[in-house]
Amino acid sequence: MAGSTKTLEDLTKQDYKYGFVTDVESDTVPKGLGEGTVRLISEKKGEPSFMLDWRLKAYRHWLTMKEPTWANVHYPPIDYNDIIYYSAPKSASDGPRSLEEVDPELRRTYEKLGIPLEEQKILAGVAVDAVFDSVSVATTFKGKLKELGIIFCSFSEAVHEHPDLVRKYLGSVVPYSDNFFATLNSAVFSDGSFVYVPKGVRCPMELSTYFRINAADTGQFERTLIIADAGAYVSYLEGCTAPKRDRNQLHAAVVELVALEDATIKYSTVQNWYPGDKQGKGGIYNFVTKRGKCAGARSKISWTQVETGSAITWKYPSCILQGDDSVGEFYSVALANNYQQADTGTKMIHLGRNTKSTIVSKGISAGHGQNTYRGLVKIMKGAANARNYSQCDSLLMGDKCGAHTFPYVEVKNSTARLEHEASTSKIGEDQIFYCRQRGLSTEDAVNLIVNGFCREVFRELPMEFAVEAQKLLGVSLEGSVG
């Protein structure tokens, strides 16, 4: 086994393939956070007063809060006054109307990342609302979506064009006072995506946003709000890469989903932010609040995430199952390699009757990575006949990594039925040898075994995304087995 431990170590040593910095003139506010910063951001975005008020309430509340310490992650204290809270590519401030108007440097960056922003996207059937730093720079397919009455635009645009919808739903799932990072986001969020699918409309294409952190020392605070009106369906894809950087970058996003009666929202994420170097230096700190509310009866929200990046991941996509017969799902693959730390999981809050939730979590730990699953299943008093199925599997590669599982359960209704399964396995030297004896290289063998381990989650991803996720996992594990 000594030989295979060494080989496991070797395979983890692969450089981040997407590390580069783009030279684009940025329109940046000075470092630091104060009421003035909040006002400045709101002013730069030309926001109506209700937004400024909301931001200020959040900011004042944030001042009373303390950074949480309960997560199983460790990092040096963050100086919130040493962060730039707003940075927009200058060429975008005029608002490009087509791809041709987009800064060529930006477009080259997207191409390097393999983001098919251009014509091939039509073939792929994906509309892109690309967020480069803090401002959306290009949105496609709007026309097509418009015919169906679907709104898919940047958050800033939504604030101007659809203030009533924003006002009605902003903070309705994640209130400005929710938690330290969400509250910070509420005060200073720069941009993000907004989706509204009207009654009975099935969105015909996957909506996709690529987030990318670029300007140095810029905290990135996106805000996404997706509303599926009664009977609507939408599938949303979020994918990320970030350039190589020597300083930790704070990322505190908020995603709110609202599903009304009979509506379905499927939210898929492939996250590949810079994880830090082999010593654990430099990567992204990812403190994200994602929550969906199944507000109406028979509504459904499904989260699928593949987390391979970031130095620290703190993320619990959750569902509030308010409507009777509503369904919440969480499928997750989280990889912690080198010195990465991942504390992730979900909360399923059952309020309505006959509500159902499914949790499938696959954690992979390699190198010195620490992977924690933290989940809460809460059955409230009124949630008669609620059901939950949870499955948490951990895969360990090598002997210096760790896997931790904290499943919490709170049941206040005796008709509830909950199942929990958990397993921890080591990637077997015998499995690797079996594959090698059939002619596969060690790396191919590890990819095969790891992908097999994750299959239940990958099959929940849309096709193109599943392929990307598999590749990403391969890249992220290269060097961890030799």
């Binding site: 086994m1 030989g3 295979s4 077997g428 030297e429 015998d430 499995q431 040898f433 079996y434 594959c435 090698r436 004896q437 059939r438 002619g439 596969l440 290289s441 060690t442 191919d444 095969l448 075994i449 992908n451 097999g452 381990f453 994750c454 299959r455 239940e456």
Partner: protein, 257 residues
């Protein structure tokens, strides 16, 4: 094809092979018999390149080249196939997927065109008949939930697909009922040919009445203590391993005097 000279090897700090000499020519089937713990499986693992076994001295030539210098996957691509005694389960990985990757790794190594999904499917349909295996097993996860017999058939099916030059069958008969044994043996016999050699490792003679060997070797305490024709297996079955051990002790005593 295969030449083993004075091979000594240890596993887990214990010396297991204590000087093996063996020559296998193309077209031959060699049976290696011996009691538990005699080193039969260790020999198979050395040939396949398992890292848990350390070779301390001796050499192994495969078609004139130093086999021990090759990593396991290169040996496999060069045409060495091991039918495992305990085939491992790989959850979530379809049998088909692993086999296609394996077949194409070998083809690529040989400079042949890789098979696409349709061509591969055609090949599997043809070869699966050899072992009368249930085709639904192809779409299941590798060996997961397979019965003992299904696992062994799957090994021989893989061998049929990979078309090896030297096949090593490590106790392929263990855990098989009589019918399954007959089917597996028929599959193996169909794969016998003038260019392919086989090393069949077994405890029992019963497999050898289905797969008739050209040479039988008896392995005891890390050494080949007796070699002979197929009739040697029958005598072993009749007299037991104690007979050989007694005889070799006698021979050792005689050589000392």
């Amino acid at each position: 094809m295969l030449e083993i000279r004075n091979l000594e090897a240890n596993a887990g700090g214990k010396e297991i092979l204590k000087g093996i000499n063996l020559t296998v020519n193309p077209g031959e089937v060699h049976a290696i018999m011996g009691p538990n713990g005699s080193g039969k499986s260790t020999l198979a693992h050395v040939l396949a390149g398992r890292e848990t076994v350390t070779v301390s001295s001796g050499e192994v030539l495969f078609e004139g080249r130093d086999l021990l210098a090759m990593p396991p996957e290169v040996r496999a691509r060069e045409g060495i196939f091991l039918a495992f005694q305990y085939p491992v389960e790989i959850p979530g990985v379809s049998n088909m997927y692993l086999l296609k990757a394996a077949v194409n790794a070998v083809r690529k190594h040989r400079g042949e065109q890789e098979l696409d999904a349709m061509e591969f499917l055609a090949l599997t349909k043809e070869r699966i008949k050899l072992v009368e295996m249930d085709p639904t097993l192809l779409n299941r996860s590798v060996n997961e939930g397979f019965s003992g017999g299904e696992k062994k058939r799957n090994e021989i099916f893989q061998m049929a697909l990979l078309d090896p030059r030297l096949a090593i069958l490590d106790e392929t008969d263990s855990g098989l009922d009589i019918d399954a044994l007959r089917i597996v043996a028929a599959g193996v016999n169909a794969l016998r040919g003038p260019k392919r050699a086989m090393v069949v490792i077994t405890h029992y003679q019963r497999l050898l009445s289905h797969i008739v060997p050209d040479v039988v070797h008896v392995l005891a305490q890390g050494r080949i203590v007796k070699s002979g024709g197929k009739e040697l297996a029958l005598r072993l079955e009749e007299k037991g391993y104690a007979w050989i051990e007694g005889e070799t002790r006698g021979a050792a005593a005689a050589s000392r005097s």
